[in-house]
Assembly symmetry: C4
Homo-oligomer: 251 residues x 4
């Protein structure tokens, strides 16, 4: 069952936004679960997100096998297993980003507490785990290139939205494509803000109650408002799609 063209275009847009906002460079990737087949997902062939077009998008099974064999000049991302393992473990997840955004990495390599310092960033949650490939797999090239590693990472993620990967990056999982893009951008912002605040003095983090309140009241309208803005910056058309949640003005 083919994925509708507007869904594919939205995935192209997500790639371009992530590149334009500095969340991914030539590396990193974003996927969506197939809207009709929950055991399939869609992501680009291995290519820099800024360069991706709709024809680069490929459908995969959760084990990482392409549904249609790829031609030799189109290779899959070696780390696509991250996505399959998260979809497998988390029926609620409909989109996944794996990225190496530059302010997030330092938290994964120092083990510093990483927690929301601002309401926009609350969706990362107050309990962000760090997965270290070395714990179960020893000295590797750090890439998650098979299901065993990916499932181990998915176990660390658990039922959360974000996990850091030591010396590597992060994985962001969520209920929609716009949500994971939003949460990736604001994860990077939280990292930047927390680093700056660390240089000034003792930080007052958001309380658990505040984070819960943000998550409870955040509507898809918030994601829409950011999406329109990021589309404009990335030179992509803004498609007002039917939204998944109740509408409400935000911040």
């Amino acid at each position: 069952m083919p994925v509708p063209a507007d869904v594919l275009e939205e995935l192209v847009t997500a790639n371009r936004i992530l590149a334009n906002e500095g969340i991914v460079d030539a590396f990193g990737h974003v996927s969506i679960r197939h809207p009709e087949r929950s055991d399939h997902y869609v992501m680009s062939r291995a290519r820099a997100p800024e360069c991706i077009e709709a024809e680069d998008l490929v459908e995969f099974r959760l084990d990482g096998a392409p549904v249609t064999p790829l031609t030799p000049d189109r290779k899959p991302y070696a780390e696509r297993f991250i996505h399959g393992a998260v979809y497998e473990a988390r029926p609620d997840v409909r989109a996944v980003v794996h990225h190496h955004s530059p302010s997030v990495i330092p938290f994964g390599i120092t083990g510093t507490k990483f927690s929301p310092v601002m309401h926009m960033c609350a969706s990362m949650g107050t309990d962000v785990p760090t997965w270290d490939s070395r714990t179960h797999f020893g000295d590797t090239n750090l890439l998650v290139t098979d299901l065993a590693m990916a499932r181990d990472l998915a176990r660390t993620l658990g039922d959360r939205r974000v996990a850091l990967m030591r010396g590597h990056g992060a994985v962001v999982a969520g209920g929609s494509l716009r949500e994971v893009v939003f949460n990736s951008v604001y994860l990077e912002l939280n990292a930047e803000l927390q680093m700056k605040a660390t240089s000034l003095g003792e930080i007052t983090f958001l309380s658990d109650g505040e984070v819960a309140a943000v998550l409870k009241t955040r509507s898809s309208f918030t994601f829409e408002r950011a999406w329109e803005y990021w589309c404009r910056r990335a030179g992509r058309p803004y498609d007002t799609r039917p939204m998944e949640g109740p509408l409400a003005g935000a911040s």
Copy 2:
């Protein structure tokens, strides 16, 4: 009484400048008091400042009710109450910005002294308070979504130009639109400069006398010079409007 078209265009320009200079992203907003009706103010419907056009601008009463009902596809900013409460408390204020600019946030979450370190930034004053929504409202999503919270924030602001909001952002109030945009940009700069200086050694802040001298001698010409520059960068026409104060060359 309709707001003149050139006034509306100036408000569009203010939105675009704040976005282009990195003071707001998809979130944050700027308003003006209605030029003829001091109990009304004008701001955009809920939309990213970079995307705003004149037809997005809406007239509100100070209690946050729109003067003309909005259509379902046009929602008000949930936090418009900030603006109404400041106009209510401060007859001298003719424009308000609420933003989350990235170097300012760390000061609100650490309680570090935040004071002018450079003449261009003196208008923030030497006494910048921080409002914490938790003090009177407990664990919330930190958004100022009703008049009770907004009036509490306005009380913290008092007769000052700037108040920080813990884990959230800042509010900047002033006598003209160009002034609040100017003061928002230079508030962010002061934060950046003070953070850099903190890493080097003990800071000599501007003295109270110096800050008073800057405020006493600053003319609207200073705002004009910056406005022309920011218009050019944002791709907006520069409209030389009648200025409110005495003309004088500056810096």
Copy 3:
């Protein structure tokens, strides 16, 4: 005696480069000594450097009086006295920049040692003084708006290329327009590099002998190579002017 058109265009280009490279924003200014009349200098009317055109340029006497009276809509920079006082005290100086570049300010407000850490930045010298307006003039708005303050600043500058101004910015003086633009850009870079290095450990500065060797061997070709690059970035034509010194490849 009118200033040749190509000299005026070069001064426009210098303004645009300084803005485009982030050394000035809406404020800051650059001047040249009149090529034929050493008791005159040329700089723009008060306008943001990014917006300046050749028709904005004005000829001044060293006391700051315009040679031709300005029309009411064209005001001089209030701080033009800085330039006059430096030309008066330093016959060797043919161009002056006054700027507030963002990594330089923190050194002026902390009194931290500020010295070359990299060969490209050696021209600032190993002895950069900081002028504090408060020392002789008490609590002011920090602006150098008369000859008395400007001469005091020029005395602090002495025979050096750079002086910092506490809570304000810096003045850069040199033998040609391309040299002062070059030294302003690399002064900002040295400040950025030194701040980063401070966060890592103990810094090995360039020795006095190394700084002397750089200054002795630096040719105008170095300034030309940078000028061509900065013109391209600023969208200005590159004019290969006769150079003042011996030609030699550099770095």
Copy 4:
């Protein structure tokens, strides 16, 4: 034997990418070993990398002498000797970059341990030496302007991919042009990440085994993916050249 036009265009592209990604400004340079004559190399005449066209490229002998005499308006880079000395000492090297990228310099002037913190940056190796011109040559202008200095630097580099130069920059050597551009960009990123992490806490560096694993499994496909991205950003056509290594999807 003339160098093929597509090889020259690739070298132009390398120059433009290094400028566009902020690795070089008006200074710094990149060369390739002549594809047919291992005792010659090709690099631009002395010009800012962003401005370089194919007709600026010049063929040199390893001692730095141009194969065809240059006209007076075309000067060689004074520091071209760095390239010749590395090609002379290292038959495996086919491309060299010398740059002053802004986060790398602070490591060279503080002697801080500089080691991979992230898989993308592993190619710098865990043993990055710093060459100090003062050790054997005393107080100089720090430029490597003859073969004696360049050979001394090449000895410090040894069989590694990267050496820092105190108060100056770095040299990056590798097996292909795309590799040295890639390693230069990710060297700067590692420096930025390590500095940020230093401000947060104790860093877990990649282990020697991890670095070895990355190097063993990194294929030319990784360089290709980045090259396509950087070409797009720099406004240069992407030329899919025959690749040197086994193809494999990466990260």
